[in-house]
Amino acid sequence: MSSGINPNPSVFLLMLNGQIESGEFPDFDELYCKFSFHHGQDWVVTSGLEEGISQITRRSRDERELFVWNFPLDVTYKSTNPHGWPQLVVSCYGPDSFGRDVVHGYGSMHIPMVPGKHRVKVAMFVPVSTSKLQQITSWLLGRRPEFVDPKVVAQGEGREVTRVRSQGHVTVTCNIVTRDLKKLGYDLQPSDVTNIPVATMT
């Protein structure tokens, strides 16, 4: 039997495992996060979870004030076309000061393309209310403005009508393994590092 290595592959594989490590959100005490992957038409999840929701975590009682989730991500993609490279969409929710569940941030990142270990800091943001009055009522009623679909943060279309405010960061670490990309002609490694003319003179 063959050893499983196909000399003429027709798909390439992209494997991500890692975790949504922690978040930095000032002014909140408890948070949980949801994640989902957003990908193009030529991508198929072969194994792993495409969507998930984490436990609720409390802010650490030290000067770092971290929200640690350590929520594992493990997904393997099969694809034929790098267009529509998968993106991780993270949205954080948590109770506000009245104990109502409100959104505390949306953020997205592309899965790193280069194999290896990556640590990505995802900036999180929320849409803001259209007027002061709405801001007050949304605060009173605990109905903050939310994106209709969290996946809009992975798309460019329609974003121009929204106004957002930054909320914090989420740190995601991921290990990337790819297979057969180079055989299909997609070279993701940076070209020969030594040949880059360096603008230093000694």
Binding site: N8, P9, S10, V11, F12, Q41, D42, W43, V44, K78, S79, T80, N81, K121, P127, S129, T130, L133, Q134, T137, S138, L141, R143, P145, E146, F147, V148, V152, E157, G158, R159, E160, V161, T162, L184, N195, P197, V198, A199, T200, M201, T202
Partner: protein, 1356 residues
């Protein structure tokens, strides 16, 4: 602290602060004292283009520099001294955005300090030792130097002139032109000789001679110019030499070794004279020839014309005379007719040109020759500049000159080369030679690690104490192709702006002096010189060029390494719009580009273009986005050829077949050709459809029109779909007002009712979770009403004749249906069952009994979306139809009666179609569920069945009785799981309505929706152009086709029925299907008639407009109905009789008809107003239709104003339908149907009963007339009469009618009746097709199909 007043503060600040002024500083303060700013550009030097800096900022900077005494910052031109382009191309420091995650590439690393050997020429470089520049410094020639004496200046001048002279001499134009002239003349001679033989030269030969003479003339001219310019040059040199000589004499010593030797070549005077005379003769001849050609022939031409005109005039005059004579005899009045006089003044005899004057011409030629050419006997002079004069030794010159020479000897100069602004080496200092040359002759190699940006050369002059920079200039970084193997020494000029003046004989630099004694104006010259040098890339031992790799790609105008420049100079300067080389040349010459600007180097050929008389031509191709090719991914050709890219592109364009392809293959060879077959077939079919309909011009027009409208609407939709509003993106709670707050409070206070069930909404399935086969259509068939019953069976009665008499009009006695029924089966009249078919799948209920059966069964039908795409936008377009057929199951004994085996009874089961009901999938999908009792469409004649049952259940008016009759089914249809219908796109369409009107619409709608959110009301609708139009503008009385109204009283119900029938025959196509759920488009009546398709509202509007024209009181009724949902009906009011018309079916109901499909009344509309139903009840039965009651109806316009101008046309044009086309169509339909029926019965022989055909044809022709009249009782009397001629037959068949949309629609309707499924071996078929043509190509298709079993044969 102590308080100081404001003024004091200002005073203090004035002392301590310096605020640079933003006004331009004085020019004088920027340059050296007593020097004027120079303008290098005016002197012909390239200065480059500096980046644009705000003048204000420049001024502030300059003022600040001046304040701190920084005169050295300024160049001689008064500008801040800077590189030609001081903008660095690369950021020196990469951007760091966060400190804790620093990129290791740019991290600061501690490195121990190392002592650096400054003497090293070679740049240390650990990264790469590959890049090496080789700089060859040859020598420097000073054209002017401050230490030059006047004699030197003159010598320098004469040297330059001599160089030029030598150049001209080298090219030897004179000999060239002389030879050319001789050759040309020879050619003319020979040509003339040959012509002499031939008496009449042809035009070609003549023109050749003319060409030659013209060429000779030109060459003569050129020869003269060349010779005279050479003579001028010589004269100048000799003048200069004279000046030198006089200067030497004057000063009494020689400073330069220059010496001009004039060589004279003695010539033979006689020979010369001969030559000269021949030349003169030649030229005179040529001029004469030219005169002949140009002037004489022209004159002859004119003369000829004159003669002709004169002749005409003469003839005219003769005629006039004759007329006049005749006139004298007659009336005298015509005598003085001025118009008859031809003005003789118009005919002017052309002047004879002056004759060719040999003497003058000869004199001219001779003068010309004397001035421009060497005269006979004049010696041939050639000049030679030698350096043989001995320079007077220093002791014997005056002290001032001796001082100069001493100063010269003291002056030594060297060159310093700076690479990227850092010194890399200096040459040895050299002392000026007496001819002002510096010979270095040294080669330097520079290893570089940095990107080559500039190579600067500084000329240092060492004075008595220190070195000073005389001049700085730049050398070009060579392109990688230039290496030490192929490089040539080049000349680069430099200049110095240093002002020097000397007490000795040296003329100085930048200071005025008198060059010649007789000159009054002093000359001032700046130090100027040329460096002869070369820069190249080194070669290593293997002959490899040691140049940085990326250099070629770099676009650096200074270095000249721009690869484009070497290819196409015109592109490189960005003048790609100049496609015409000639106009480019012109432009270059007109715009006076700086030839020293390296940017313009490419254009220099164009500048010199016309010097030699020939136009510089580049390749004559057309440039359009010539750079695009380099950015192309692959070539366009390949892009269209490769299937994978084609797939990707088609998917991107959202072509339906490809939109949902996922995992598109990665490799080209994995894409099969079959991927495109469906798409290509569709494209082909599109064309074929047009071909097929080619018979009829109207239909093609209609198709085109529909396609155009659809394209326009889709385009508008797709562009607007990508415009998002905040509501599409962000979900935000609205600010609650008092009403909603109050409602929520009330809700809290509401008593809890735990026993009241709350309807739970089913979860809607997301489209991505759906797969093939996971969606089903559920059809719950509850019960049926009033199903046609079989007519009494007469099988066992032997006397068939008698039966005919007994049967009468209603009982079709000759029809033998359900014969041999068991005695038990006689107890019921019909055995109906329901078959639901969708997408080739059919399921049936069990067989029930009796005319009012109750099934209560759930049927499941699989649903597959096209291309397995369950997206809302795709599902919207599904145009499949759910058919619900009602059949009667007839079991008959198939055992031959004469067999002896009585134990075996063979029965044959036959399904007789009774009627059907169609439900488009789009309706189910949009509405989620369809629930109600629907009228089954039953053919008007159902042979063997009793259609009419005594309907006395409802006390209806007699005229409406028959409308309420009919067969009904109660069904419930839904999808499992519920698919999420596409959200109606909230599109803001443009509108030409008044803004206040639109605002009123919005508030009116909001108000209505708040009170009764489920009631259907519209104020503005979208017309076919995609603009919002007020709905009342659609209402306008329009005359129906005259054929429908004539002959009958216009006000009877029959006319209305006819009109409704006509309207309902216009094919119905839902906007949901046509426009893919984008929007509901309303077309005007003329557009509707033109397109011949539309949905409820178009039909309703047309019907309403017809009714209004007939003077009826009618309204457009917006409401909800089953199965359509929100729909539009027409309401007519006639003496408290309210009739609701369904315009798309032509049916009408009384308002109190319980079987009316209309479920609720939302609004009434006519041409003046819109009324919204604000009554608590909205069922048509209970609504009060008096719109004047304010408490019942909310009007859009509070006061009924005059109607707004309508967008409908004044009248409709009904083109008569082409009868021959209809006849052809009948033939085509009939043929197709017959073929199809045969093909549906592959295992049986299909026989056609010809006599049956002809009978049916007669019947079918009359059907339209009767149906449109809706006389209620379908009189089949004469059917029987005709059928009796066929003898004893068993007959199953139905006439069907439908609007004509296409042959396929007719075929599928016939197929659904399942007539062809009759298994009887003796069956024969009959069929007749009739198309009733209404005006404007509205066609009603009637098909009468019948299966005939000859009973007699069977019995025998």
């Amino acid at each position: 602290a102590e308080y100081n007043g404001y003024n004091q503060q200002v005073e203090k600040e004035k002392v301590n602060y310096f605020i640079p002024s933003s006004l331009p500083p004085e020019a004088a303060s920027k340059v050296e004292e007593d020097a004027q700013p120079r303008y290098l550009e005016d002197e012909g030097f390239y200065v480059g283009e500096k980046p644009i800096v705000l003048q204000q900022n420049t001024n502030i900077l300059e003022n600040r520099l001046i304040k701190h005494g920084g005169r050295g910052w300024f160049g001689s031109d008064g500008q801040v001294d800077s590189l030609p382009n001081p903008v660095a191309e690369m950021a020196t420091k990469p951007w760091v955005d966060s400190l804790d995650e620093l990129d290791p590439c740019v991290e600061t690393v501690y490195v121990k300090a190392q002592p650096r050997n400054v003497n090293l020429y070679i740049i240390q470089n650990q990264v790469s030792d590959e890049n090496e520049l080789q700089i060859d410094i040859g020598s420097i020639n000073f054209i002017h130097h401050s230490l030059m004496s006047r004699e030197h200046v003159l010598a320098s001048n004469i040297t330059m002139m001599y160089d030029e002279y030598r150049m001209i001499r080298h090219k030897n134009y004179i000999t060239f032109y002389t030879d050319k002239l001789a050759a040309l003349r020879n050619a003319v001679e020979t040509l003339k000789e040959t012509l002499g033989v031939v008496k009449y030269p042809t035009a070609l030969q003549k023109s050749r001679i003319n060409d030659f003479t013209a060429e000779i003339r030109r060459t003569t001219q050129q020869l003269s110019t060349a010779e005279s310019s050479e003579r001028d040059m010589m004269r100048q040199i000799i003048n200069e030499w004279e000046a030198i000589k006089s200067l030497r004499e004057e000063q009494g010593y020689n400073n330069t070794s220059v010496r001009l030797v004039v060589k004279k070549e003695e010539v033979n005077y006689q020979h010369d004279l001969n030559n000269w005379e021949t030349e003169v003769a030649h030229q005179v001849d040529e001029r004469r020839a030219e005169y002949d050609v140009i002037i004489l022939s022209a004159h002859q031409e004119e003369m000829r014309k004159y003669q002709v005109q004169l002749q005409e005039w003469k003839q005219n005059r003769l005629k006039m005379k004759r007329i006049r004579k005749r006139m004298q005899r007659g009336s005298k009045e015509n005598l003085l007719d001025p118009s008859s006089e031809v003005a003789i003044a118009d005919i002017i005899k052309p002047d004879k040109p002056p004759p060719f004057d040999d003497v003058t011409v000869k004199n001219e030629v001779m003068n010309d020759l004397i001035v421009n050419r060497r005269n006979p006997g004049e010696a041939r002079i050639s000049l030679e500049l030698t350096h043989t004069t001995t320079i007077t030794p220093t002791p014997s010159v005056p002290p001032s000159e001796a001082n100069r020479r001493r100063a010269m000897q003291k002056t030594s100069s060297n060159l310093r080369v700076l690479f990227n602004g850092r010194e890399v080496f200096q040459t040895e200092p050299k002392i000026l030679s007496s001819d002002f040359k510096l010979n270095f002759g040294s080669i330097f190699r520079v290893r570089i690690a940095q990107w080559p940006e500039s190579l600067k050369v500084e000329l240092l002059t060492s004075g008595l104490v220190s070195k000073s920079i005389t001049s700085t200039f730049y050398l070009d970084i060579p392109p990688t192709t230039v290496h030490s193997g192929n490089v040539r020494l080049g000349v680069s000029g430099f200049t110095s702006n240093k002002v020097e003046s000397h007490t000795h004989e040296g003329v100085g630099s930048g200071t005025p002096f008198t060059l010649r004694t007789n000159e009054t104006n002093p000359t001032s010259l700046n130090t100027k010189g040329q460096l002869i040098s070369s820069v190249s890339w080194s070669l290593d031992a293997n002959g490899r060029v040691l140049a940085p790799k990326g250099l070629v790609e770099r676009e650096d105008p200074i270095s000249g390494a721009n690869p484009l420049k070497s290819n196409d100079p015109v592109i490189a300067i960005g003048a790609e719009r100049l496609q015409d080389p000639e106009s480019l040349t012109k432009w270059v010459q007109e715009s006076r580009l700086d030839p020293n600007d390296p940017e313009n180097a490419a254009l220099v050929p164009f500048m010199q273009g016309n010097k030699d008389g020939d136009v510089f031509l580049t390749q004559d191709y057309f440039r359009l986005e010539q750079l695009q090719e380099e950015f192309n991914f692959i070539t366009e050709e390949e892009f269209s050829r490769l299937n994978r890219f084609r797939l990707l592109r088609l998917r991107h364009e959202e072509i339906p077949e490809f939109r949902n392809i996922s995992m598109l293959p990665c490799n080209e060879h994995e894409v099969t050709e079959s991927a495109f077959t469906a798409y290509e077939r569709r494209l082909k079919e599109k064309d074929v459809v047009k071909m097929e309909r080619g018979v009829d011009g109207d239909r093609i027009e209609v198709l085109k029109f529909r396609q155009n409208v659809k394209d326009a609407v889709l385009h508008r939709f797709y562009t607007s779909r990508h415009h998002y509003s905040l509501q599409d993106m962000v979900h935000e709670e609205q600010v609650p007002d008092i009403g909603t707050l109050g409602a929520s409070i009330v809700k809290i206070a509401e008593p809890r009712r735990p026993l009241k069930p709350v309807r739970k909404t089913r979860k809607k399935a997301m489209s991505q979770n759906l797969t093939e086969g996971s969606v089903r259509i559920l059809v719950n068939v509850v019960r049926g009403y009033n199903i046609p019953t079989r007519q009494a069976s007469h099988s066992h009665q032997p006397d068939r004749r008698g039966e005919v008499q007994v049967g009468g009009a209603m009982a079709a006695s000759s029809l033998r249906v359900g014969q041999h029924l068991d005695p038990s089966s006689k107890s019921y009249l019909v055995a109906p069952f329901v078959a639901a078919s969708f997408q080739d799948a059919t399921v049936t209920t069990s067989v029930a009994q009796g005319p009012s059966p109750s099934w209560n069964e759930e049927l499941q039908l699989p649903f597959c979306a096209p291309n397995s795409d369950y997206n809302a936008s795709n599902l919207q377009k599904v145009d499949d139809v759910l058919f619900i057929h009602l059949f009667d199951r007839v079991t008959e004994d198939a055992t031959p009666t004469n067999t002896e085996d009585t134990a075996t009874i063979i029965t044959r089961v036959q399904n007789h179609w009774l009627g059907s009901y169609e439900l488009p999938f789009s309706t189910i999908y949009q509405r989620g569920k369809i629930d109600g009792t629907f009228k089954i469409k039953v053919p008007p004649v159902l042979l063997g069945y009793n259609l009419e049952r005594e309907i006395v259940l409802y006390r209806l008016k007699l005229s409406l009785k028959y409308q309420s009759s009919g067969t009904y089914l109660t069904i419930f249809v839904t999808l499992e799981p519920v698919l999420k219908p596409m959200d109606p796109p909230k599109l803001k369409f443009e509108s030409q309505e008044d803004v206040s009107l639109l605002r009123r619409c919005v508030t009116y709608l909001a108000d209505c929706n708040k009170r009764y959110p489920n009631r259907n009301v519209k104020t503005t609708v979208i017309d076919i152009k995609g603009e919002s139009v007020l709905i009342t503008r659609f209402v306008r009385p329009l005359p129906p086709p005259p054929e429908l109204t004539e002959a009958t009283n216009t006000n009877t119900i029959i006319t209305l029925e006819k009109i409704a029938r006509f309207v309902s025959l216009i094919p119905f196509v839902s906007d949901n299907v046509t426009y893919a759920g984008i929007c509901d488009l309303w077309s005007t009546c003329d557009q509707f008639m033109q397109m011949l398709c539309g949905d409820e509202e178009e039909h309703a509007i047309l019907l309403l407009n017809y009714f209004l024209h007939l003077g009826k009181q009618a309204y457009l009724l917006l409401g909800t109905a089953v199965p359509e949902g929100n729909t539009a009906y027409v309401l007519t009011v006639d003496h408290n009789e309210y009739i609701i018309w369904n315009a798309s079916t032509g049916e009408y109901h009384d308002k109190s008809d319980p079987h009316s499909p209309l479920q609720s009344v939302g609004a009434l509309i006519n041409d003046t107003n819109i009324w919204f139903n604000v009554q608590t009840q909205d069922t048509p039965m209970r609504v009060r239709y008096n719109v004047t009651r304010m408490s019942d109806w909310k009007a859009f316009f509070p006061i009924t104003a005059t109607p707004l101008p309508s967008i409908q046309p004044e009248s409709l044009y009904y083109p008569p339908t082409d009868q021959s086309y209809v006849a052809n169509l009948i033939d085509a339909v009939e043929r197709t149907l017959k073929d199809r029926i045969v093909s549906w019965r592959p295992r049986h022989i299909t026989r056609w009963n010809r006599s049956g055909n002809s009978i049916l044809r007669q019947i079918v022709k009359g059907l339209e007339e009767r149906v449109s009249r809706k006389t209620g009782v379908v009189n089949t009397g004469h059917n029987e009469q005709l059928l009796s001629q066929l003898g004893d037959v068993r007959f199953t068949g139905y006439p069907m009618d439908q609007p004509y949309t296409g042959v396929e629609a007719v075929v599928s309707a016939v197929r659904s009746t399942e007539v062809h499924k009759i298994q009887d071996p003796d069956v024969e078929f009959s069929m007749a097709v009739h198309i009733h043509a209404y005006p404007a190509s509205v066609l009603a298709v009637w098909v009468y199909v019948a299966a005939i079993v000859n009973r007699r044969r069977h019995d025998l």
